[in-house]
């Protein structure tokens, strides 16, 4: 089990929270209990045996998107509050409660199907067994946009890249988020087994949460990754720079880019998606009120669309209000695509699908 860093957690709990303005949950709900320090105080008091971990307290602490918005202005460089909150509410042993009833069906799905969404739909791409590149789709893209597998597959084929798909399991992040680290570890173990078995050297994923869990957690959980993990925006920009993909002009020219939190703040991928957009002739990018590392979460981080759907919708509404009316919004994350689409389907465009449109039509 992950250890809570009490010194860092208390640093936050004792701080007036200069980061409050960057917590999307607080800004959407306006409830003090979900303020960064509000959550940190509950977590710290629980860790010090001053507060029982009731469902109300678990729910408050779990109202964190993992977006790391609070780290932007945080004066404590070693504090990762999103993770400290997660560890603080995770039970030390299986017989302790640490899960909310609302999460149970998703955990059951994970155990049965390896996806929180239930039975996985059939894959649409052309998988070439033994290829060096493994295209890891991720549960959310697979559940909500199964057609994207074929579109991205086409893009890879256009670039002359042989790729393979595997019968992937959830990366484990949702299980960890929902307070079942043992399940997270077993999903990770199964994925690692499949990575080794497929023999790929490089894993390309469009899902920032999968990327995060592979790059940050798997090592912490004691797994050795047998392949390199690559974020899709960086990978496809490479293909464009190498001249393997040659985007042509498309109908839409005025676009905004919504930075997914993990790509922007953890992977530091803010220039690459914009360069990809700019590789399409005639595109102009209109920046929203908050962009780059200062981006605001869409409401989809840490499975919020399943865990707290109403709050996720509120957060998405706020984020959408930060964009210029009329410009199409491009994003590069299945959660952002899903979250922001709740408000207005027509305006949200997936970055790689846009690229495919520019390269393959």
């Amino acid at each position: 089990m992950a250890e809570v860093n009490m010194e860092q957690l208390l640093n936050c709990a004792l701080c007036p929270n200069m980061c409050r303005c960057d917590c999307p949950v607080l800004q959407a709900l306006g409830h003090e209990k979900v303020a960064p320090a509000g959550k940190a105080r509950f977590a710290a008091m629980h860790q010090q045996d001053h507060l029982e971990l009731s469902n109300e307290i678990i729910e408050a602490i779990a109202n964190c998107l993992g977006c790391r918005g609070c780290t932007v202005l945080c004066p404590f460089p070693e504090l990762n509050l999103c993770d400290e909150l997660l560890y603080a509410r995770t039970p030390d042993s299986v017989d302790q409660s640490g899960q909310l009833p609302a999460w149970e069906p998703y955990l059951a799905n994970l155990k049965k199907y390896g996806s929180p969404y239930g039975q996985k739909p059939p894959f649409g791409g052309k998988s070439s067994r033994g290829s060096d590149v493994l295209y890891f789709v991720g549960c959310t893209a697979l559940a909500n946009h199964p057609e994207s597998v074929a579109v991205i597959g086409k893009l890879l084929q256009q670039a002359g890249v042989n790729y393979q798909l595997i019968d992937e399991d959830c990366c484990g992040y949702p299980a960890e988020t929902w307070g079942d680290p043992n399940l997270a570890h077993s999903l990770a173990a199964e994925n690692i087994r499949k990575f080794v078995e497929c023999g790929a050297k490089k894993l390309v994923t469009c899902c920032p949460e999968c990327w995060l869990i592979f790059t940050e957690r798997y090592k912490k959980w004691g797994f050795e990754l047998p392949l390199e993990i690559v974020a899709a925006p960086a990978y496809f920009l490479g293909l464009v720079k190498e001249g393997l993909l040659k985007p042509a002009a498309i109908e839409q020219t005025k676009l905004s880019y919504h930075d997914p939190c993990i790509w922007a703040r953890t992977a530091k991928l803010t220039k690459e998606p914009r360069q990809l957009l700019e590789s399409i002739p005639g595109i102009t990018i209109e920046e929203p009120l908050f962009s780059g590392e200062l981006t605001h979460c869409c409401g989809g981080g840490r499975m919020f669309q399943l865990s707290f759907p109403k709050t996720a919708e509120e957060i998405a509404k706020r984020r959408l209000s930060e964009f210029t009316v009329g410009a199409g919004i491009v994003t590069a994350c299945p959660f952002c695509r899903e979250g922001l689409s709740q408000e207005n389907n027509a305006r949200i465009i997936d970055l790689l699908e846009l690229l495919a449109n520019a390269c393959c039509s």
């Binding site: 208390l10 640093n11 929270n17 200069m18 800004q27 001053h50 029982e52 729910e59 408050a60 009120l289």
Partner: protein, 487 residues
């Protein structure tokens, strides 16, 4: 482990039956999802950033709990809620972002914590007359970002900018770091909309000035929630400055530096930022300048030609006062670090008791008040540090900001009370005012009589007239003797 932690200064609670009645009616007014008796909500709204709350938190205790938290979405809902609270005699404590440093948001008599964070919209920018209408629950940093995006600044930058709200600024009569140019919140506020305990909604006219009797809406600036609830405000704004000029100096002593600043203010120059640090704080904040001299940092902004003239006037006076020009980099450093108060969290964990105490002086007692307060603070057993800086200046005086840190061992609260007693006695003896911009809240109320004299009874009469049932933030602003804390 307990379901809810023990309270320390809970003076009373409303009978549960009355609270249940209030909750039923409030559900009807604001919707059931905006009324909560969830322990997590009660606990979250039990405190603000008064340092004593942190001492108690480490011990697993909280100051006092509300019995309900309610999140209104508009002024009409607040009107209905206050009418109901008056009828049922339920205390109401307004809650913004919880950054107050004197316990003003603690619901010591239980009742309702009225959380305004849902009222967070910037309603309208009047670009012609340079005004903005904004709801009181909007976070300060988001307010400034929204204005910047439109090409303006609100000119108000308290250190709490990122963790305070518009309503909080107005209710505690706040001052920002750029206030010498832009003014304090009372100068920035054109008009307010507010709700009184009987449900009356009223607002002032949004014109530059009126001579139509006293500005009743301005009565709520600094009222700390005791008269009613500020729901929105029209505030002055400025076009984003064309240019910014940064300059710093060091002086051989504080007295000479103060005299130089006094002379600068007489010329009519209005730098946005004027901050003068004693030698100790100079060493702490700008170690490269050493700890033997006093640093003055200045930031001038606005139209390039005016700035150039101001910079010249200031430089002439500084050099004539024997100051050493230290360039812009120390001001850049301050700009970068000005919201960083991480040291407070770390010190609390190490067992320290710390606070900042800001007072208001004229020029004749600006230096003597510093000396007297520092001497008194250092005389308290356990004090490790008592330093100061001047953070706001005027033609008629300056705001003095003392920082005190001590390691008192086991009885932290007794030490806390002793340092405040020492500081306030010294301040009053020098003829300074007991608060410049943090306000009174719960803790500083005990010196309100010495501060105001017979003026306090006037305040009490106004309170009685506006809030006969004493529902609004009872126990604050020194109107009642604290039953548990002050004793």
């Amino acid at each position: 482990m307990h379901n809810l932690p023990q309270t320390v200064i809970q003076e009373s609670r409303v009978e549960q039956q009355t609270i249940d009645t209030f909750a039923r009616e409030a559900n009807r007014i604001v919707g059931s999802d905006q009324v909560s008796a969830n322990p997590a909500d009660l606990l979250a709204n039990s405190r603000d950033y008064w340092p004593v709350n942190n001492i108690w938190m480490i011990e697993g205790r909280v100051p006092a709990l509300p019995q309900l938290v309610v999140w209104p979405g508009n002024t009409e809902e607040i009107s209905a809620l206050l009418k109901l609270a008056t009828k049922l005699k339920v205390p109401v404590t307004p809650y913004g972002e919880g950054s107050g440093t004197l316990g003003g948001a603690i619901p010591i008599k239980g009742g309702v914590s009225l959380d305004l964070k849902r009222m967070n919209h910037l309603l309208e920018i009047d670009e012609e007359s340079l005004m903005v209408r904004v709801e009181s629950g909007l976070n300060g940093a988001l307010y400034e970002e929204l204005l910047n995006h439109a090409g303006y600044t609100g000119g108000h930058f308290p250190q709490s900018l990122r963790c305070s709200s518009i309503g909080g600024w107005l209710a505690c009569r706040a001052a920002g770091q750029f206030s010498t140019r832009y003014g304090k919140i009372e100068d920035i506020a054109v008009s307010l909309e507010a709700v009184l305990p009987d449900g009356t909604i009223f607002s002032g006219r949004s014109v530059p000035r009126t001579a139509t009797g006293p500005r009743l809406d301005h009565l709520l600036i600094g009222s700390e929630g005791i008269f009613g609830v500020i729901t929105s405000a029209t505030l002055r704004i400025w076009p984003l400055p064309e240019k910014r000029h940064l300059i710093s100096y060091t002086f051989a002593d504080l007295k000479g530096a103060l005299e130089c600043i006094r002379l600068i203010m007489r010329t009519g120059a209005r730098p946005a930022v004027v901050r003068l640090y004693d030698a100790q704080e100079t060493g702490n904040h700008f170690p490269e300048l050493g700890d033997q001299r006093c640093a003055l940092i200045l930031l001038i902004e606005g139209t390039a030609k005016i700035i150039a003239a101001e910079a010249e006037v200031i430089d002439d006076l500084a050099i004539a006062s024997g100051a050493v020009d230290c360039g812009p980099e120390h001001v850049e450093h301050w700009l970068e670090k000005r919201f960083n108060i991480s040291v407070a969290s770390m010190l609390f964990q190490k067992g320290a008791v710390l606070d900042t105490i800001e007072v208001s002086t004229n020029w004749h007692n600006a230096h003597s008040t510093y000396l007297a307060m520092q001497k008194s603070l250092l005389a308290v057993e356990g004090t490790m540090l008592a330093s100061g800086h001047y953070s706001h200046v005027y033609p008629d005086g300056a705001g003095l900001y003392m920082t005190v840190v001590g390691f008192p061992g086991s009885d932290k609260l007794a030490f806390y009370k002793r340092i405040w007693q020492a500081a306030m006695e010294a301040c009053l003896a020098q003829g300074a005012a007991i608060s410049h911009h943090h306000g009174i809240g719960l803790h500083r109320g005990q010196w309100m009589h010495e501060e105001h004299g017979s003026g306090l009874s006037v305040l009490k009469k106004i309170k009685k007239a506006l809030d006969p049932e004493n529902i609004m933030n009872p126990g604050k602003l020194g109107l009642e003797e604290g039953k548990l804390w002050q004793k």
